[in-house]
């Protein structure tokens, strides 16, 4: 945090003209952002490539936490803490629960990636190249001035949220309620599932196969 403040002060000392800020003379904030960004990106890459399912969730924590730091560096404090609370705190925990409940294998599973991998890689790389090209082409001279009061302090965000965004905020609460009800309905064990023998037999057989598989391992 102190590092960020120092870089902000250094940036304030320099001229505000955008042309004078070259990529070859980065400020301290930029260096910090770059480093944290690299870590975040690396954690994300590992998340989508690791063969250990539980590790993927943990690497996801890393990536999301890195993003929270990036928010802080962008002076959006409130978002950063919300990020930590909701994503790192609850979403990842939920995902871990999901992995456990679906009896995801602990340790390396060779089939974590589907056969679609190379197509996916091609599409992702092409999309990344296109996006990066466009973004760099469009914003290579745009300068964000981080001096002055924080753009995303709790006070500013709260004032904006409850002055200008009250109605969507309340609508969002209804959406959350609907999601809650939906999740309950979906999770409840339907009685019809257990009555038909074919449907009841299939998961049992699959589970027995899975236990056999783990036994062999």
């Amino acid at each position: 945090m102190s590092l960020a403040a120092a870089t902000a002060a250094a940036a304030r000392a320099t001229t505000t003209a955008a042309e004078s800020h070259g990529f070859l003379s980065p400020t301290g904030v930029e260096i910090a952002f770059l480093l944290v960004g690299l870590v975040t990106f690396g954690a994300a890459i590992v998340t989508v490539t690791t063969k250990q399912l539980v590790h993927a969730a943990l690497w996801l924590v890393m990536a999301l936490g890195g993003l929270a730091v990036e928010y802080l560096l962008l002076t959006a404090e409130f978002i950063a803490w919300v990020q930590v609370l909701i994503y790192v705190g609850s979403v990842v925990v939920l995902l871990l629960f999901g992995l456990m409940l679906t009896k995801a294998p602990i340790g390396r599973s060779p089939d974590a990636d589907s056969g679609n991998r190379w197509v996916a890689l091609t599409v992702a790389v092409a999309a990344a190249a296109a996006l990066v090209w466009v973004v760099v082409d469009a914003f290579r001279t745009t300068w964000v001035d981080l001096k002055g009061p924080a753009a995303g302090s709790t006070e500013v965000t709260g004032a904006s949220l409850f002055q200008n965004w009250v109605l969507p905020f309340e609508a969002l609460s209804v959406l959350l309620l609907a999601a809650l009800v939906g999740a309950i309905v979906l999770s409840r064990k339907a009685k019809a599932d257990a009555t038909t023998p074919a449907d009841a037999a299939t998961p049992a057989g699959a589970q027995s196969r899975r236990s056999e598989k783990e036994g062999t391992r």
Binding site: I79, G98, D193
Partner: protein, 132 residues
Amino acid sequence: MHLAYPAVLSALLFCTGLYGVLARRNAILVLMSVELMLNAVNLNLVAFDVWLSRTARDTLHSGQALTLFTIAIAAAEIGIGLAIVLAVYRGRGTSDIDKLRDTAEGPAPDDSRGDGTEEAPVTGDEKAEATA
């Protein structure tokens, strides 16, 4: 700070999540990748909001508000998504996305229904042989 840094990072994260969505077999890992994509969008929103609030004296803070909404919706989405994955797992004994092929064109025209349930044991056996 150059706006290009958060924008490029956001693009890269998004494409990483994209790769995960397309390449991962486990449905929960796909959900994780979706979270990555959402977060990439969030980063973009926050960065542009900060830029606009300084450059254009924008006091609406729509980027931050939308980020909060996205986080809330993502939370709801992950809840619903997990509920669906669990329901599918209960019904079929697997949460592998590439085995949910009920919409596939079957080998015979009138045999499209049992495709998903009939192919699943075969691939499951192959998987067991591979692990053994």
